[in-house]
């Protein structure tokens, strides 16, 4: 095992790896992230290797399982080098043809290449795909390129050079100054100046300090942190090591949700490899700096994404936040000065040190520098991860990068920042996506989760959904959050059930504003946002629910009815047999009838009917 105990050793090692890599060799890069695995990529990968073996090609063709490059909508994803042929939606049935035609003869298979849904144009090469060309992939660059379980891949692509620079060529204060100058702001949601935070922690007296990576990505719809840890874990390890040296910490923790087993696994491998190569642990890179990282797995509590609750969890306590000040930079884990940053923040550090603060700040807006990674989910064509410069307009993000709304439906609102965020309606589509501009609209950048909704989404139901999530996740320590969100949820449930009253909307606004101002932590401090913004921009929908007892989007169970269209009904009896409450009656081959008194609006009949004979009012 190569132990790298100097900058020179690292450079030599990288050159040796690059020398043994033939850029012209046939390689097949297969996305092996959780998303593609859920689409069957493991079976595809196994069959690919088997087929190559049988064809006698296993020696010449390298198969590289990679992390998630972000184009989740079209997974499983293949990229075949050196031509960079991009195949999407690859299934096991496609493997024989891929090996026989593309691998053996360089022939492109039409059914597997990307066809632009708008222009009809066929695009063969990965680099030309509009999904990628419209992005600015800095942090995500190596996702989809390297094998995340290979430190050699990371080093070959320039990994750990920044660490060498930070240790040997810069004083700790200079590292902090560079991070400050870059303008990097916390990518976990608060957007606090990272360099300033590091500075405050360094200034705090004490010999024992900690750095923590907050990988408790709990926002439903957000998975960028997961993909970074799955696809390029060394970027975070390197970032944390640089930070630890700058701040004066000797121990780090990565706190990661237990719902992310692959990320935990790949991170574990990365830590082990880094230690073996002298890049973590004792005498890092021969500089005499000792620092190591431990993984702590979460136990199913969204509130542990809040920094003081996270620290309590590491300490073995329940995830209850505590009052701040004092801030973690002064008194954090076990009372020691602690610097906590989000995964994306740490992953940016090696890039800043390697390319310089000016490079980082060359994109973005005046106050929001650099790039940001968003997860585009919901009613959007290109569901997946995208990295774009701060300040891009929401319209560009959704329509150019995201490909717009599928099914010809109209855009309704974009929820940014998960349960802590607000929704942005059509009239504000041109808002630049940056910290200040979104805050002015009542929303937040948050950790980057962006859920797109269309005309079939009920905004009142969406607000109710978020409050239900909040009620399950509130730690319950402080009165405003514990009881206030319960009051808000009950009001919303009544409204969605058709029992809204005069004054309900005003009550939600008043209560929401107070819960925000009076709660102990940022969970209570932000969870009224979805309610407040949906009321702000979709008040008419609320009023329809309360006064007209109607749900315009036809979602709220208490306000809709399912009906059989007799003319279309063939009497096949599928709906009647599957109705969980026996609300449907009808003879074979005779039109069926739904009894609205018994019907629970579960929607199963509507989902199962093969003849479009069931409508929703």
């Amino acid at each position: 095992m190569i132990e790298l105990r100097s900058q020179r050793a690292l450079i030599d090692y990288r050159q040796r790896i690059q020398a043994t890599t033939d850029p012209q060799q046939r390689r097949i890069r297969v996305c092996d992230g959780t998303g593609c695995r859920a689409l069957g990529s493991r079976k595809v990968l196994a069959l690919l290797q088997e087929t190559l073996q049988e064809a006698g090609l296993a020696g010449e063709v390298e198969v590289v399982p990679t992390g998630c490059p972000g184009f989740c909508e079209l997974g499983p994803l293949f990229t075949i080098d050196p031509e960079q042929i991009a195949y999407n939606r690859v299934g096991v049935d496609d493997i024989p043809a891929i090996v026989a035609k593309t691998i053996a003869q360089g022939e492109i298979i039409d059914g597997l290449v990307f066809v632009d849904p708008v222009t009809g144009q066929t695009i063969i090469h990965d680099n030309d795909l509009p999904f990628y060309t419209k992005q600015m992939r800095r942090v995500l660059e190596l996702n989809g390129q390297i094998d995340p379980t290979s430190i050699e891949d990371y080093i070959a692509h320039g990994g750990y050079v920044a660490l060498g620079t930070a240790l040997y060529e810069m004083a700790p204060e200079h590292v902090i100054e560079e991070v400050k100058r870059s303008g990097l702001r916390g990518r976990g949601g608060a957007g606090f100046s990272t360099g300033t935070k590091w500075h405050l922690c360094r200034q705090s007296p004490g010999d024992v300090k900690y750095v923590i990576c907050n990988a408790d990505e709990g926002d439903p719809g957000a998975f960028m942190d997961r993909s970074i840890l799955e696809g390029n874990p060394h970027s975070v390890v390197e970032g944390m090591t640089i930070g630890a040296h700058a701040i004066g910490a000797t121990q780090g923790y990565v706190y990661i949700r237990n719902e992310y087993p692959l990320a935990v696994q790949n991170l574990r491998i990365a830590l082990q490899q880094a230690r073996e190569h002298g890049l973590l642990g004792d005498d890092i890179l021969g500089f005499g700096f000792d620092f190591d990282i431990e993984i702590r797995v979460g136990s199913g509590a969204f509130v542990c994404g809040e920094e003081t609750a996270l620290m309590a969890s590491i300490e073995g306590k329940i995830g209850e936040p505590r009052p701040r000040p004092p801030y973690p930079a002064q008194s954090g884990l076990w009372g020691k000065p602690t610097n906590i940053n989000n995964v994306k923040t740490w992953a940016n550090i090696p890039l800043i040190i390697r390319n310089g603060a000016d490079w980082f700040a060359s994109v973005g807006t005046e106050k929001s520098k650099g790039t940001m990674i968003f997860s585009l989910v919901g009613k959007i064509r290109n569901t997946g991860l995208v990295e774009v410069p701060m300040g891009i307009s929401l319209r560009e993000l959704i329509y150019d990068v995201g490909g717009g709304i599928p099914g010809g439906k109209g855009f309704k609102a974009a929820q940014i920042g998960g349960p802590s965020g607000g929704c942005i309606p059509k009239e504000h589509l041109d808002v630049p996506v940056d910290y200040e501009s979104l805050a002015a609209l009542g929303a937040i950048v948050g950790s980057g989760g962006l859920v797109v909704t269309d005309e079939d989404t009920c905004m009142v139901d969406l607000a109710r959904y978020f409050l239900k999530f909040t009620q399950e996740e509130s730690c319950g320590k402080c009165v405003p959050c514990r009881v206030g969100t319960r009051a808000m949820l009950e009001t919303l449930e009544r409204i969605c059930a058709g029992r809204g009253r005069e004054g309900d909307v005003e009550y939600l606004v008043e209560l929401g504003q107070e819960v925000k101002r009076s709660s102990l932590c940022a969970l209570g401090g932000t969870v009224p946002n979805p309610v407040l913004t949906t009321i702000r921009y979709f008040r008419d929908e609320y009023e329809a629910h309360v006064y007209d007892k109607k749900c315009p989007a036809k979602v709220c169970k208490g306000l809709i009815t399912y009906e059989v269209v007799a003319a279309s009904c063939t009497g096949c009896m599928v709906c009647a047999r599957n109705c969980p409450v026996g609300a449907i009656t009808g003879e074979k081959k005779q039109p069926h009838v739904i009894d609205p008194e018994v019907c629970t609006r579960c929607g199963v009949c509507h989902a199962l009917c093969n003849f479009d004979a069931i409508t929703v009012h």
Partner: protein
């Protein structure tokens, strides 16, 4: 895999000063499929933490269960993206099919139904995870197929 109380006691002591209460409880949850009362008492004694603290932690975090979970776990993602794509219908179908609500276990202790708030596979919503195997783009029909398959498998296992 054999797991003796003595071994548990030793594991706790071996972890030493850095012993993390939560990591130890996670291990016990993984092995026993729940946190037995006696195990919690043992942890309290051996780790040197008040029992009330152990119990507080055990009831706070949703990863821990005080009653045995089923041999198989079916998790439905109810994250925003999956919700918007119809996760509620998928969940309802499973509730009906298994006869339990989320958090509950079937009487034969075979299946536990759970909801999860976002697994990070939003492109494939709605997502269901059966014993660590992810199934994407679930529909009511696919749920029926999945349930049939897993109940058949479960019946086969208990015959051994």
């Amino acid at each position: 895999m054999d797991f003796e109380a003595r071994e548990l006691a030793e594991t706790i002591e071996q972890n030493g000063a850095d012993a993390s209460l939560i990591s130890i409880l996670e291990e016990i949850q993984g092995r026993y499929r729940y946190l037995p009362q006696e195990a919690m008492i043992l942890v309290s004694e051996r780790l040197g933490v008040p029992l009330s603290q152990v119990y507080s932690v055990a009831t706070f975090y949703h990863a821990f269960s005080l009653v045995p979970r089923g041999r198989h776990t079916i998790s439905v993602c109810t994250g925003t993206a999956c919700h918007v794509r119809g996760a509620v219908q998928v969940l309802n179908r499973l509730e009906t099919g298994l006869g339990v609500r989320p958090g509950e276990t079937t009487r034969d202790r075979q299946f536990t139904l759970e909801t999860v708030n976002c697994l990070g596979c939003c492109a494939l919503g709605p997502v269901v995870v059966l014993d660590g195997e992810y199934e994407g783009q679930m529909t009511t029909k696919k749920v029926d197929k999945l349930m049939k398959r897993s109940m058949h498998q479960a019946a086969g296992e208990s015959d051994d």
